[in-house]
């Protein structure tokens, strides 16, 4: 183990702790952590002295007892000479059942023990009841984020200020690196010791063959005759393969005898740093088949070595079986990096690399599973801060290096767990719709967006400005109150009031049916991932008091078009849509359209809703007149005539308002300023017949072939 590696240890009776440990391993690897999972029966207590980071999952059995696979380790831990664990970081997840008196006792015991031995608790123990999944998952995420930051990737500067002044890149950055195959196969110590115990020469020949193959895996193989081999030198070797035959009635071959005796003596060294695998040769016609190989396999384990590939027992036709074992074993040995850390997740990639294909691992269905891991990137993350107690706002900026494939939510967790526990944001599952935030003007669910894809990287640095969702009241930092939206939703009585309909006779009985295209259309309108995110996409929401907003209106429009809705319900929904807080209050659908996948579909639906409302009102009122007269002027000349719009839509009172508020004056001076003809424009505003009957073309010249425009109007819409 090294400082950057993590041991995930489980004490399990029913398998729950083991499951959690395996899940934690997957998550750890996605964070770029090198780690290994071991049951408590798979290690001896002395191994912990070499461990710097340990994550423990332990259940409790019976009346506060250790699970079976933890009993021996616990006894050893409480022996006469427990190891010192100074410098070791740990976190404990205890599983139990509150219906028992000694709830989570084993986890508590381990927690106390680690502390007593001088280890540092990096996260408070969590005690999980029978519904353990959620609290355990939360604990795992937090713990791994902390371990990740401690072994790299930690934000290193916290800068709290009212005015953000980005600092230049710092001299030191801690890096969380993803696994890099090229680096793994070339960096650091790449030695592989291949020991053979041979009587007839078969084992020796195989050892020599494997040694040559080792170079294909980036390893430097050295063949060692067991005869005369220094047992003590094994403790310094991180990769060892053993090829050993069996002689007579289960006896070690001649050249292995002395080493075998030494290995079983009291002074045999600890092999806790050693990864090994055994190829045993034998003959099934003998009673003790492959006995020597089995003994070496067992003894290495007893001495603390880590078995990477299960032993293979070969009969007299050993070539093909031994060759297959070599492929697995050499790949596994190659996955032990220069510091002695085993990267199990890289084994398949190494095999493919050696086979001439390093694109990724083949999936079970025959397709290639792409490698989603990414290089570490420099990120400058500025996060909006709001403290409700002092009513102060500002921002904090962190400079850090993190793997590009980290989700934004994971990055926020890392910042919170390592540098500022007071940072507040809505946490949850990756697709939790309430977690929505704003990053560089983009509205996202942070669990669903990778760090390296959330915004463009410029000048080698990713600069992120993280803000709460616009249009909502901020509670603290990035946490907003969705209540205003929910109140608006509530005001629309968001439930189905269905009409009585005849069902269709089917094999399942009489049931209501809906045309597939209708059902698809309705679903597409309302299948937005996050109501809050969609609501925030409207730039009008923060400014239009009472405006229901796109998330609420999309649902209203869908119900209004649902064939199951009753006539009275449709009528009521039409009133909502046409009301002052309905679709007319949206000032620009383009702002909704541009945000994320659902924005396009919803903006199209809201456009339909607006057309429906305007037609229902026969294009009366300012909204209707605006659309009507804009379209009309387009027909009359091919160009928009904005003076006509001002007169027709605002009317005399509106024009007078503009006159007194300075808008008209500014408009006219604006025209003059930029070279327009002020007199002409002034005339445009006051010339008759303003607001009466059909407008003359006035000051617009027509586009060429204007008759074509008129023909298109006549073909498609005779209303204008």
């Amino acid at each position: 183990m090294t400082d950057s590696s993590l041991l995930i240890l489980f004490g399990s009776e029913s398998g729950n702790s083991e499951y959690l440990a395996v899940e934690a391993e997957k998550q750890a690897k996605s964070l770029g952590l090198s780690c290994s999972v071991k049951g408590m029966s798979e290690i001896i207590i002395g191994d912990l002295t070499d461990v710097k980071n340990v994550l423990v999952y332990c259940s409790t059995w019976g009346e506060g007892d250790m699970p079976d696979n933890a009993v021996d380790l616990w006894d050893a831990a409480n022996g006469d000479s427990p190891p010192s664990l100074k410098g070791c970081n740990f976190a404990i997840c205890a599983l139990g059942d509150t219906s028992y008196e000694f709830f989570c006792q084993s986890g508590k015991d381990w927690d106390d023990w680690f502390e007593k031995q001088g280890a540092t608790r990096i996260l408070d123990r969590v005690d999980c009841d029978v519904e353990y999944e959620d609290p355990a998952a939360e604990f795992t995420s937090k713990a791994l984020s902390i371990f990740s930051s401690m072994t790299g990737g930690a934000p290193i500067e916290s800068q709290v200020n009212e005015d953000i002044t980005p600092e230049p890149a710092l001299e030191e950055t801690i890096e969380v690196t993803g696994d890099d195959l090229g680096e793994l196969l070339s960096a650091g110590d790449r030695s592989l010791a291949i020991l053979y115990g041979s009587q007839s020469g078969n084992s020796e020949a195989l050892a020599a063959k494997f040694s040559k193959q080792a170079s294909d895996y980036g390893l430097v193989g050295t063949v060692h005759d067991m005869d005369g081999f220094d047992l003590a030198s094994l403790s310094g070797m991180s990769r060892v393969l053993i090829v050993c035959s069996t002689w007579g009635e289960g006896e070690q071959p001649d050249n292995a005898e002395a080493l075998w005796v030494a290995a079983n003596a009291d002074g045999a060294p600890s092999l806790s740093q050693t990864h090994f695998s055994v190829c045993a040769l034998g003959d099934t016609s003998y009673e003790l088949f492959c006995e020597s190989g089995k003994e070496w396999d067992k003894r290495f384990e007893e001495l603390g070595a880590t078995r990477l590939v299960d032993r293979v027992d070969c009969d007299v036709d050993y070539e093909s079986i031994a060759a297959a074992w070599a492929v697995d074993s050499l790949a596994a040995m190659a996955a032990v990096d220069g510091t002695g850390v085993y990267h199990e997740d890289m084994v398949e990639s190494i095999k493919e690399y050696v086979a001439g294909d390093d694109e990724g691992a083949d999936g079970e269905d025959g397709f290639t599973v792409p490698d989603f891991s990414a290089e570490s990137i420099q990120a400058e993350i500025s996060i909006f801060r709001y403290d409700p107690e002092t009513a102060t706002t500002g921002s904090d900026t962190w400079l850090c290096a993190m793997p590009g494939h980290l989700s934004l939510l994971e990055a926020l967790r890392t910042v919170k767990n390592t540098h500022d526990g007071s940072l507040s944001f809505r946490d949850g599952a990756s697709d939790d719709s309430t977690t929505a935030i704003c990053v560089n003007g983009r509205l996202v669910l942070p669990g669903l967006v990778r760090l390296d894809a959330v915004a463009p990287t410029r000048d080698g640095t990713l600069r992120l400005r993280v803000d709460p969702l616009p249009g909502f009241e901020v509670i603290r930092d990035l946490v907003v109150d969705h209540w205003s939206m929910e109140r608006r939703r509530e005001s629309t009585q968001p439930w189905m009031v269905a009409a009585t309909r005849g069902g269709a006779s089917t094999m399942q009985g009489d049931i209501g049916l809906m045309e597939p295209n209708v059902a698809t259309a309705l679903h597409s309108i309302t299948d937005f991932g996050s109501s809050a995110l969609l609501q925030a996409s409207s730039d009008a929401v923060p400014h239009a008091n009472g405006y229901l907003g796109p998330a609420v209106l999309a649902s209203v429009w869908a119900r209004r078009n649902d064939p199951r809705s009753s006539a009275s319900s449709v009528s009521g929904l039409d009133e909502i849509l046409a009301g002052s807080n309905g679709i007319k209050a949206e000032t620009d659908l383009a702002s909704i359209r541009r945000q994320n996948g659902s924005g396009l579909v919803v903006s199209e639906a809201l456009l339909d809703a607006k057309t429906h409302v305007l037609e229902r009102d026969a294009f009366n009122g300012r909204h209707g007149k605006h659309v009507w007269w804009y379209t009309w002027t387009l027909k009359s000349s091919g160009k928009v005539n904005d003076t006509v719009l001002y007169r027709q839509v605002l009317g005399p009172i509106g024009l007078l308002g503009n006159l007194t508020s300075g808008v008209t004056a500014r408009m006219m001076t604006g025209f003059s300023r930029t070279g327009g003809d002020m007199i002409t424009d002034m005339l445009a505003f006051i010339a008759p017949p303003a607001g009466i009957g059909k407008m003359p073309r006035q000051f617009n010249s027509s586009v060429d072939n204007h008759h074509e425009v008129v023909a298109i109007f006549n073909e498609l819409d005779g209303r204008f």
């Binding site: 607006k610 091919g638 808008v663 023909a711």
Partner: protein, 286 residues
């Protein structure tokens, strides 16, 4: 290098924003860009006509596409609303062959035209950075712009497929152009937000708040000037800024000009207007 585009001046450069048409033409001359007029092209509809009849706006714009295709040229416009609306309709037609066939039937019957969809829509900003090159622009600068400038994009060109090689949510082409001209760009959030132009006549109180927020944020970030990529937004940000300020109590006095104006001024055209702009910057504000 001969650069040639079919030119669509936008919706209001013939009326509310003649300065855009004037400076676009002088800038194009200075850069050696040939603007081929489309004298038969109609207004893009600005998303307003679509509210009355979606197929109507689509067909009118298809007619414009057909005219550009007949010239064998891509369309260039200085108006973000026009660029956004034309692009939206073009993508709708390109993605639905049945729709394009129906629209072509209407065009054939009424105008004797058809379109294929093999035309591109470029806003002047994206053409400048993606096709012409900022190095070419830098070579032509005669009057470096020594202002602190807030670039306003608006939401129409910040759509997927409508913003060239720029980022939809976190663009920086305008800032690159401002820097190339010698100016200092400011970072501000409202640059891609809508100021509510389509709702100006009917939802004025909301639009005034949206406008005031954009103006005041630009001022708060230290901008001397706002440069808008959109004719319509520029008109509202300029004409209504007094009213927006009075309605909201925010500080909104700041000169607002169009991108074509600052480009044209920097290239040595309309020196008197640049002098007038300097005066406005000096006297306008708090």
């Amino acid at each position: 290098m001969a650069i040639k585009y079919a030119y669509h001046p936008g919706n209001v450069s013939h009326s509310s924003s003649p300065e855009v048409a004037v400076t676009m033409e002088s800038f194009a001359r200075a850069m050696g860009i040939t603007l081929v007029p489309l004298p038969g092209a109609t207004s893009c509809g600005a998303g307003i006509v679509r509210q009355a009849n979606r197929r109507l706006q689509l067909t009118l714009n298809a007619r414009t596409f057909a005219m550009a295709e007949a010239e064998g040229l891509n369309i260039l416009t200085p108006c973000a609303a026009t660029a956004g609306n034309l692009q939206e309709d073009l993508m709708a037609l390109q993605s639905d062959q049945i729709l394009m066939q129906e629209v072509n039937e209407t065009l054939e019957n009424t105008c004797g035209l058809t379109m294929t969809g093999e035309v591109e829509i470029h806003h002047i900003l994206h053409a400048l950075v993606d096709e012409i090159g900022l190095d070419k622009l830098e070579e032509k600068v005669k009057n470096p712009i020594d202002f602190t400038v807030a670039g306003y994009y608006g939401p129409n060109i910040q759509q997927e497929g409508a913003c060239g090689g720029d980022d939809v949510y976190d663009p920086n082409y305008l800032e690159q152009v401002i820097s190339t001209l010698g100016g200092t760009p400011v970072s501000w959030e409202a640059r891609t937000q809508s100021v509510g132009v389509p709702g100006l006549f009917a939802e004025e109180p909301t639009v005034m708040k949206q406008t005031a927020e954009a103006l005041s944020e630009a001022k708060a970030e230290g901008a001397d000037l706002i440069v808008s990529a959109c004719n319509l937004s520029q008109a509202v940000l300029d004409i209504y800024q007094g009213k927006a300020g009075r309605n909201t109590g925010l500080s909104t006095n700041i000169p607002v000009i169009h991108l074509c104006e600052i480009l044209s001024f920097a290239l040595g055209c309309h020196n008197k207007r640049l002098a007038l702009l300097r005066t406005r910057i000096a006297v306008i504000g708090d």
